[in-house]
Amino acid sequence: MPAYEEILSIVIELIKPLAPQGRSVQEDTDLVADLEFDSLKVMNLIEQVEDRFDVSVPLNILPDIRCVRDFAVQLLEIIGKN
């Protein structure tokens, strides 16, 4: 099972192409406020993450996700349960 740091770096790598050009993506970057993610981009990101880790990410976690860290923490838990 991948460690938190590994999940975090993969998530950042997947977010970068979806972020506005030249915007930095860090652990505490806010997906909506800093990267202007809309629902389509969020769904796109989730699908990529699902393929990468071979898990299904329930939509229920979305309200708890603001920054990149929140997403990585949730993923760690989901992968752990699998």
Partner: protein, 399 residues
């Protein structure tokens, strides 16, 4: 953040639309004269954005039945059936729908939205799992959310992705509901229901819910929808649908062979706490259901019209939804293109639906045409000609 701040983005979108002269969400029809014609600002419009698939909204028998019911039973029921009791016509409609679908029983709801909200939020609870097609209607998403169950999306119409996600669930499969639609509302494409049913059969304990809102009266030998068309009705546990499209009224239903449906009625908060439909609505719906059953030629006419318009728009070179269907979506990468063409179509007397993100599946903007059995060949010709005109005036009208 103050309470109204969250609406600022919406306000900006509305301002942008107003600036381009687009009033699509505030069109007021001064007069509606038939299933396919209305007047807006004194201008006659052909209605090609109605979901009025069989054109029954002005059927004389439906109107007569509605008027008669209003005269004899009053304008409204003024309450929920659980509190105020059931009018016999509501019960009769449920029996007629059960006969029509060849199912054990049916619950009638006051709107299609409430049918999905009520059924999905009641069928599942915390600990259960919904696996839903990504392009499902908002009422399905909202019903799932209200249930407290886990919600997993699979890629639109992708049976391999569905299968993969069901396998990941392991033992939880016994607590899983798969939810799909017969025909999807935005692009008019059909679910690969035979394959979805086959996947479901390999997952003992999983249940399948199919929303036939846009396929009732449109698909199947008897007009029962996509499940009938695909020959897999036995694999569908719950059929949900609406009266507001092919039946020309408003309301919803759920049909099932599971005897528990009777219990679900009383546990169903959106059902229990909504006033039941007005007698006139129930009366016209019953009449329309009879007409739908007795006149398969309406379905035939609908498909002739749909195929004709689809072929015309395809020949013109528009980027269209994937298959001929009563819903034909003309797709644009830029929303400004869709705004401009929508306004030009109104100028030419054609009303279609303008749909922009986030309501669209892939971020594109749509001019969504819905075809009716009520359209005359001349009207279909006029709709096609308007699009042909626009193709000439906007060289890059479609990508």
């Amino acid at each position: 953040m103050a309470i109204f701040d969250k609406f600022q983005q919406l306000a900006a979108t509305r301002r942008a639309m107003a600036a381009s002269g687009i009033q699509s969400i505030s069109v007021v029809m001064d007069r509606v004269v038939s299933a396919t014609e209305a007047f807006v600002n004194g201008r006659a419009l052909i209605l090609a954005g109605t979901n009025n698939y069989l054109g029954l909204t002005f059927h004389p028998e439906c109107i007569e039945a509605a008027c008669d019911a209003a005269r004899t039973q009053g304008t409204g029921t003024t309450g929920s059936r659980v509190a105020n009791g059931s009018y016999s016509a509501h019960v009769q409609l449920e029996c007629e729908l059960a006969d029509f679908f060849d199912r054990r029983s049916v619950i009638v709801f006051s709107t299609g939205y409430v049918a999905n909200l009520g059924m999905l939020s009641t069928l599942a609870g915390p600990g259960d799992v919904f696996v839903i097609d990504a392009d499902c209607h908002a009422s399905i998403y909202d019903g799932c959310r209200l249930s407290g169950a886990e919600i997993i999306r699979f890629r639109h119409n992708d049976t391999v992705d569905l299968d993969k996600r069901l396998r990941r669930l392991g033992e939880r499969i016994a607590n899983t509901l798969i939810v799909v639609e017969g025909i999807y509302s935005m692009l008019g494409d059909r679910a690969p229901l035979a394959e979805i049913a086959a996947v479901k059969r390999r997952c003992p304990g999983a249940h399948l819910v199919v929303d036939e809102a846009h396929s009732l009266g449109v698909l199947g030998n008897h007009g029962r929808g996509m499940a009938e068309e695909a020959g897999v009705e036995a694999d569908v546990d719950f059929v949900i649908g609406t009266f507001s499209k092919s039946l020309g009224a408003i309301g919803g239903y759920c049909a099932s062979d599971h005897p528990e449906l009777d219990l679900i009625r009383y546990a169903n908060r959106p059902y229990v706490f909504t006033a039941s439909s007005s007698p006139s609505i129930i009366a016209s719906t019953r009449k329309a259901l009879g007409i739908l059953s007795a006149h398969p030629e309406l379905r035939q006419r609908l498909w002739e019209n749909a195929r004709r318009l689809y072929a015309r728009l395809q020949t013109l070179g528009y980027h269209l939804s994937p298959e001929p269907s009563p819903i034909i979506a003309v797709r644009f990468a830029q929303r400004e293109q869709a705004y401009a063409l929508w306004a030009e179509l109104i100028e030419r007397g054609i009303y279609v639906n303008l749909v922009v993100p986030p309501a669209t599946p892939d971020g594109s903007s749509l001019l969504r045409c819905s075809v009716s059995a009520g359209h005359t060949p001349e009207q279909i010709e006029k709709i096609g000609s308007a699009f042909a005109d626009l193709k000439r005036s906007f060289a890059s009208a479609s990508d």
